[in-house]
């Protein structure tokens, strides 16, 4: 064994809050690295403010610090913990950048901390584009010809030299932040200015649009042994960021020569750079020769490496961590077979398809075109034994209303050719429409540059659908055709829609009819195992998927009713991400601990729950009713848990119940009573519990009448949205009419729910666990922002710091009533509005909520463990501890990714827009606020602050904060109204003109462009957003110029209050277990 025995204690840097380009994959890779260290008996210290992650749970690291992953905080932790080694490769770009800074500033050397794995020198060689090109030039490896520029003038000169189109890349930024294509000098100048705000340097290079994009995941040990674990090919050609692309593994259009040519180059590259551990090499590859360019090398675990791990069953992060300790690949075993060597390259006997998930509909003004910068918020991975099967599964997994490549609601596309050439998040719909309109594969290829191979496969699906459409009854369909459709990944729904067409009135019944017909014909899916060696050696793990391309199951089912199936959360999206993975993993652990066989269904490659050693059996497959029933019929489980994976599994309750599936915990009927607006409302009325007035309305007249009754503002929720956000607050008649006319449909088929909107109310969360209607544990937490900011975007304090005891008592009582009425067994969450001591219920979910990991970790009572034991039928004791005993407070703050969403208005509203969150602890609220906001990218300003605060109410709310800034010597810039108000109240402020006053100086945008301010507080006048307002321009400029922005008066006050009273040095560095 070649382990470095001097390493006894290791520090691992996490990636912080989930953001676009840096998401759950780093929870997975960090958790794997921690597991590898633990196996070696090494003490682990973890810094990661992301409290909802699995890696920050008990049992993963020995010490956990919920602190920002920034050089200052990490240095202080190093000073306190004195680790022997540090792991930089497992926390994304955040950890890598932080590590490079610690190396450069000499901190690592000063404290004698050894960087495990790839040396920092090699990291720098791959991160700095010029060094990178130089390095690869040394071994005659072709890179994309590019030159660095640090100002606009030199950028323009370079582009003139190269010729347009060019691509701009920002150095040291992941996910293509600040990157893009430019067709002319004007576009280039605009983009470069933006990019330079994030990065000291940009690279201008010739565009290779239309080339293939291929990636290799490479591993090297310190003995120079190399393997490529996986290669992947993008469905979308170069020009679309790999995070935005559909990706297949292994590559499909490369010949043996192509494959091994690029593989050999990848190995040559990582040997020359000196990687120890894992890295990926991205290529542009000419579709009509063997010409290539290396796009980039990531000297760390990445989104691709997480995907490769899941696609192959090869635990890259785990192995990379071991290699960092000095092991050779030959020392390690293949963890799937447990008998063969870890030095091998997986052989796949299936095809994997990754599809990105966007949530662009949540944002106002965002550019929907996809390109060289990443905008997707999550991804799914689908496994099949034909490409068509994997692809159609994947489209359903995305969860945006697609049933597959055919059978979807018709989307009207005016200009198909134009839409093919300028792809958006809807491009798959466009491809389908283009094919159905009769366009040939060649034509589509010319416009999209998608390799014909993929298009041929998609055409197979269209052809099968057309054949199905020639029938009009299920019985008449040729069984061979039905089988082929299923082998091409058609769902029962797609079959039903193709055959029954307009006759299909009831979807549920139609699905069941197809299912029954299939069974009659013996057309059933089989279960296959992912075993890394294509069946050459037996696998010891149960990493499974279902396919119609096979005749034999790999699993021998015992049908002993000892399985408990936990349904996972699906793709990460805005509103549902790592927190539900934490819930799922914890439920699995409890299921296993209590002696049941733990079974997981999930398809998100960025998660820990889809790690095959997180459970006894992992079905990496769809969470549709059809697929879940397939698995239930195979497993014949004791029961199914659907309350820990968020809304996707919760939505299956009624349908599973109708098939007599044993749903563990709260009954399907109760779930329906809480989910159905009318039933729930009637129940609250019966129980005498107050709620905001609302009505479901089908005409504009009715809406006006209702508004006349409750008054503005109102919250409007259409059931059918044409464009933009699904929910809106309207403050006056004009806004209401405009929203309903432009954005939504109102009709008998598409009613609109209108709710009175209570202003200046507090919003309160009740997270709890009940047993047969009796609350066993609960956590009440309080939003810092007033109601109107979505609970997923709000900053939450737990325990509540400014709530009346009376309010708390009422919330407890009302919650107990609801729990009893719905006979809840398991986790649930109720949201309340509170004004004075009046409380109103706004929502109730009979499942774990987003805040479960946060409250569980702050309170140190694992709500999911408790809930799971109850759902398994155990009698549990009420925990003795309550939130009143805590000597500290937790603050959960939200992470926004507006910088990646070009054009989006970075303002908070009733629809959620944050992509992640952190949770930090402090003995004082201000300390916890400061830690958490610094963790989500806020920075303490050094120079000036720009204030512009909408209404008088907001101005008042900001006054104390402004006074504190003034007293601390900050230069305050303010727009006209705000400045007048501040001066009247004795606060000095410099006047800046609004963007609309283009000729007046100083102008707000100038102040931003000159970086005279390093904090912008811009409070919109009301909750409706108007893209062309001055406020939008200021907010967007702040984001594009990377200047911290706050748009909520209460949160801004809390932050300003915190940093003006506390210096960062006075923040106490304490591990979780020390609170």
């Amino acid at each position: 064994m070649n382990k470095d025995a001097s390493i006894k204690k290791v520090l691992l840097l996490g990636s912080g809050a989930l953001k676009i380009g840096e998401a759950g994959e780093f929870d997975y890779s960090g958790a794997q690295a921690l597991k590898a260290m633990k196996e070696e008996g090494i003490t682990t210290v973890l810094i990661n403010p992301n409290i909802a992650t699995v890696q920050t749970s008990e049992g993963f690291a020995d010490k956990i610090y919920f602190l920002p992953v920034t050089p200052d905080f990490v240095t202080r932790v190093i000073d306190r913990e004195r680790p022997d080694g540090i792991l930089l490769a497992f926390g994304g770009q955040t950890a890598l950048n932080c590590g490079v800074e610690l190396y450069r500033s000499g901190v690592l050397e000063r404290y004698g901390v050894k960087v495990l794995g790839t040396p920092v020198r090699a990291i720098i060689d791959t991160e700095d584009r010029e060094l990178f090109v130089e390095k690869l030039d040394q071994i005659d490896i072709k890179t994309i010809r590019s030159s660095a520029a640090s100002d606009i003038e030199s950028a323009l000169a370079i582009a003139d030299d190269l010729g347009y189109p060019v691509i701009v890349r920002a150095a040291y930024a992941l996910g293509g932040l600040g990157s893009g294509f430019c067709d002319n000098a004007e576009e280039l100048a605009a983009l470069v200015e933006k990019a330079l705000a994030f990065s000291p340097q940009v690279l201008i290079e010739k565009s290779l649009k239309g080339w293939k994009e291929v990636e290799y995941e490479v591993v090297r040990d310190r003995f120079d042994n190399c393997i490529t674990v996986c290669n992947m090919e993008n469905f979308d050609p170069l020009g679309i960021h790999t995070g935005e692309s559909i990706v297949v593994a292994p590559s499909q259009t490369l010949s043996n020569d192509d494959y091994h040519y690029l593989r050999s180059l990848a190995i040559k590259i990582i040997r020359h750079i000196g990687i120890v551990g894992e890295c990926n090499v991205q290529y542009a590859y000419d579709p009509s020769s063997m010409d290539y360019r290396v796009i980039e090398v990531n000297a760390r675990l990445s989104r691709s490496s997480a995907l490769a791990s899941k696609a192959t069953g090869y635990p890259l992060a785990f192995v990379a961590a071991k290699l960092g300790l000095g092991y050779g690949l030959f020392d390690l075993k293949n963890s799937v077979t447990q008998s063969t060597s870890a030095f091998f390259e997986p052989a796949l006997d299936y095809v994997v398809c990754k599809l990105p998930r966007w949530d662009l509909g949540k944002f106002h003004g965002v550019d929907r075109q996809i390109g060289s910068s990443m905008k997707s918020v999550g991804e799914v991975m689908a496994i099949g034994r034909t490409f068509e099967e994997a692809f159609q599964k994947g489209l359903r997994m995305i969860g945006q209303g697609m049933h597959g490549f055919v059978g979807n609601k018709d989307v009207k596309i005016d200009d198909i050719r134009g839409a093919l050439a300028a792809p958006t998040d809807k491009r798959v719909f466009v491809l389908s429409a283009a094919m159905r309109s009769g366009m040939s594969v060649d034509e589509i290829h010319e416009l999209t540059k998608i390799d014909r191979w993929f298009l041929y496969k998609l055409r197979n699906i269209i052809n099968t659908a057309a054949e199905l459409e020639t029938y009009d009854s299920l019985e008449a369909v040729d069984p061979e055709l039905l089988r082929r459709a299923k082998q091409q990944g058609f769902s029962d729904f797609q079959v039903a829609r193709s055959v029954l067409k307009d006759k299909m009135t009831d979807t549920e019944t139609a699905n069941l009819l197809v299912r029954a017909r299939r069974k009659e014909l013996g057309i059933m899916p089989v279960v296959k195992q992912i075993d890394t060696l294509a069946a050459e050696y037996p696998a010891m793990t149960n990493y499974l998927y279902l396919t119609y391309n096979g005749t034999e199951n790999d699993v021998d089912y015992l049908h002993d009713h000892r399985s408990v199936i936990v349904l996972g959360s699906g793709a990460y999206r805005i509103g549902s991400s790592v927190e539900f993975d934490w819930c799922s993993v914890n439920a699995l652990m409890t299921v296993k601990k209590e002696g049941w066989r733990s079974v997981m269904i999930n398809y998100n490659p960025e998660t820990v729950s889809t790690d095959y050693d997180a459970c006894d059996r992992l079905y990496f497959d769809e969470l549709t009713f059809e697929r879940v029933m397939d698995i239930i019929e195979l497993e014949q489980p004791h029961g199914v848990i659907l309350s820990v994976g968020g809304q996707i599994p919760n939505n299956l309750a009624t349908r599973l119940d109708a098939q007599h599936v044993n749903i563990l915990g709260t009954s399907a009927a109760s779930i329906d009573n809480a989910e159905d607006r009318h039933k729930f409302s009637a129940m609250l009325d019966r129980l005498g519990i107050d709620q905001p007035r609302w009505r479901e309305l089908t005409s504009l007249d009715d809406i006006h009448q209702f508004v006349a009754e409750v008054g503005y503002p109102v919250l409007v929720r259409p059931s059918y949205v044409l464009s933009g956000a699904a929910m809106n607050v309207c403050s006056n008649n004009e806004e209401l009419v405009r929203f309903l006319q432009l954005a939504a449909n109102v009709s008998k088929q598409h009613p609109v729910v209108v709710t009175e909107f209570i202003q200046d109310a507090k919003e309160i969360e009740m997270d709890a666990v009940a047993d047969h209607g009796e609350i066993m544990a609960y956590a009440i937490s309080e939003h810092i922002e007033y109601a109107g900011v979505h609970s997923g975007d709000a900053t939450i304090q737990f325990p509540p710091q400014k709530l009346y005891v009376e309010t708390m008592r009422r919330i407890k009582k009302v919650s107990a009533k609801i729990a009893k009425a719905l006979n809840i067994s398991g986790p649930f969450n109720i949201q309340y509005l509170a004004k004075e001591n009046d409380i109103k219920v706004i929502e109730c979910n009979l499942r774990a909520s987003r805040s479960f990991p946060f409250v569980s970790k702050v309170l140190k009572i694992n709500f999911i463990d408790l809930a799971t034991r109850i759902m398994l039928g155990q009698k549990v004791e009420k925990p003795a501890k309550s939130a009143f005993d805590l000597d500290y407070v937790g603050i959960k703050a939200s992470q926004f990714s507006f910088s990646r969403l070009q054009g989006a208005d970075p303002v908070l509203g009733v629809d959620m827009s944050s992509t992640g969150e952190v949770g930090c602890l402090g003995e004082m609220t201000s300390e916890a606020v400061l830690k958490s906001l610094l963790s989500v990218g806020q920075r303490i300003p050094q120079k000036g602050v720009l204030l512009s605060s909408g209404s008088v109410k907001h101005k008042l709310a900001m006054l104390d904060a402004a006074k504190m800034l003034d007293a601390r010597g900050y230069r305050i810039y303010a727009t006209e109204g705000t400045r007048r108000f501040l001066e009247e109240n004795g606060v000095r402020a410099t006047l800046v003109y609004k963007p609309s006053d283009t000729d007046m100086h100083p102008q707000a945008l100038e102040v931003l462009h000159n970086h005279d301010v390093d904090l912008v507080v811009n409070i919109p006048r009301d909750l409706s957003s108007d893209e062309i307002t001055n406020g939008y321009k200021i907010r967007r400029a702040a984001i594009d110029l990377n200047i911290p922005l706050l748009t909520n008066a209460r949160l801004a006050s809390a932050f300003i209050g915190a940093f003006t009273t506390l210096s960062p040095d006075s923040i106490e560095i304490k591990a979780w277990d020390e609170y």
Binding site: S255, H260, F344, E345, A535
Partner: protein
């Protein structure tokens, strides 16, 4: 979607796998073996080591990038490993009727039809592979719906080496290069390319040719199909050559024949090694290599005489992957340093040989 005939694979133990035909429609039989490589079907199909075998590809998609055009000569093909297909049939889960690659001259189906080789798809190749893994390689036959059923055929009962070896001597490379006698036991053309590329004069001779009367600087014994026991003549010739002390090198069958010449014995593996991902370790070092392999027989390490030692060992099952003489320049590899198809990490093997000349 193409209308295709149903076709069935029947194994000698009676197990049946139902699918469809996409290649030449004719019955076929042979030894059923699986390969876990994910690319390289044109190379595999033309690899003479597959003579008499029905190839099952575990990667479910087949035919994606079509087939490159014929090029070069029958003695040295440009894109293939020999002049024609040696497999008796090929079986996959799914066939790509439409291929896409700039180099492709035709589809796999077209090529199979030209060469009169059946192809099957729609078969649960994973189930089939597991069966072969558990029960060992076995004979099988392909029945095309409506056509007559063939007899089982056991290629291992035949001298496949003689069948696939060249019949005449061919020379390649610069005339003034070091002279290497290359014994063709059913050679893959990339071995010729790898040697010629290194500036040596290659004299390719038939398997049973007595090359000891030739003037040469080194001897190279190629890969080849089937049971090494059939190559007694070759073993005798190698034994004679060993007395000269000139460098001797071998690949795959060459490893087995060199071992036999040294006095060791070989045996048949349960289901062989056929893949691109076989890990081997160089004896006594920390150097490991991913190798391409295709063999059903192996050298029994324990029978190596005292002046020989293992050179490489398979890291998965511990079987022999190469041998060397402790003092003389004789060495060989069970894997394929010439790759094609597969990883090229061990091409240095040719350098080591050429440097000895």
């Amino acid at each position: 979607m193409q209308q295709t005939r149903r076709a069935t694979l029947v194994l000698e133990d009676g197990t049946r796998y139902e699918g469809y035909s996409f290649g030449f429609e004719a019955p076929a039989s042979g030894e059923v073996v699986f390969n876990t490589a994910m690319t390289g079907y044109p190379e595999s199909l033309t690899d003479p080591s597959y003579e008499g075998q029905i190839l099952v590809t575990t990667f479910p998609l087949l035919g994606n990038y079509g087939v490159p055009p014929e090029g070069g000569s029958p003695d040295l093909s440009e894109h293939f490993e020999s002049s024609h297909i040696h497999c008796r049939a090929i079986i996959a889960q799914d066939y790509a009727w439409d291929h896409s690659h700039w180099l492709a001259g035709r589809s796999l189906a077209q090529w199979l039809k030209e060469q009169k080789i059946p192809g099957l798809y729609g078969i649960d190749t994973r189930a089939l592979t597991k069966h072969l893994r558990d029960s060992g390689s076995m004979l099988g036959k392909i029945i095309i719906d409506g056509m007559e059923e063939p007899e089982l055929y056991d290629p291992n009962a035949e001298n496949l080496i003689a069948m696939t070896s060249c019949k005449e001597v061919h020379e390649y490379g610069p005339e003034d290069g070091k002279r290497v006698v290359l014994v063709d036991c059913g050679i893959k053309h990339n071995i010729i390319r790898c040697l010629a590329r290194r500036g040596v004069r290659v004299i390719r001779v038939p398997w049973d040719y007595d090359f000891n009367h030739l003037d040469f600087d080194g001897l190279f014994i190629s890969n080849g199909p089937g049971n090494p026991d059939f190559a007694g003549v070759t073993v005798e010739n190698i034994r004679k050559a060993m007395t000269k002390g000139k460098p001797i090198c071998g690949i795959c069958m060459g490893n087995q024949l060199l071992a036999k010449a040294a006095g060791a014995s070989t045996y048949k593996l349960k289901y062989g090694h056929r893949s691109h991902n076989q890990p081997v370790r160089r004896a006594g070092t920390n150097q490991c290599f991913i190798t391409s392999q295709n063999h059903g027989f192996a050298v029994d390490d324990s029978t190596l005489p005292a002046d020989w030692e293992p050179l490489f060992t398979n890291m998965n099952d511990g079987t022999n992957e190469g041998i060397r003489h402790k003092t003389l320049p004789f060495f060989s590899a069970q894997f394929h340093p010439e790759a094609s198809s597969g990883p090229r990490d061990t091409e240095f093997f040719f350098d080591e040989f050429v440097n000895m000349l």
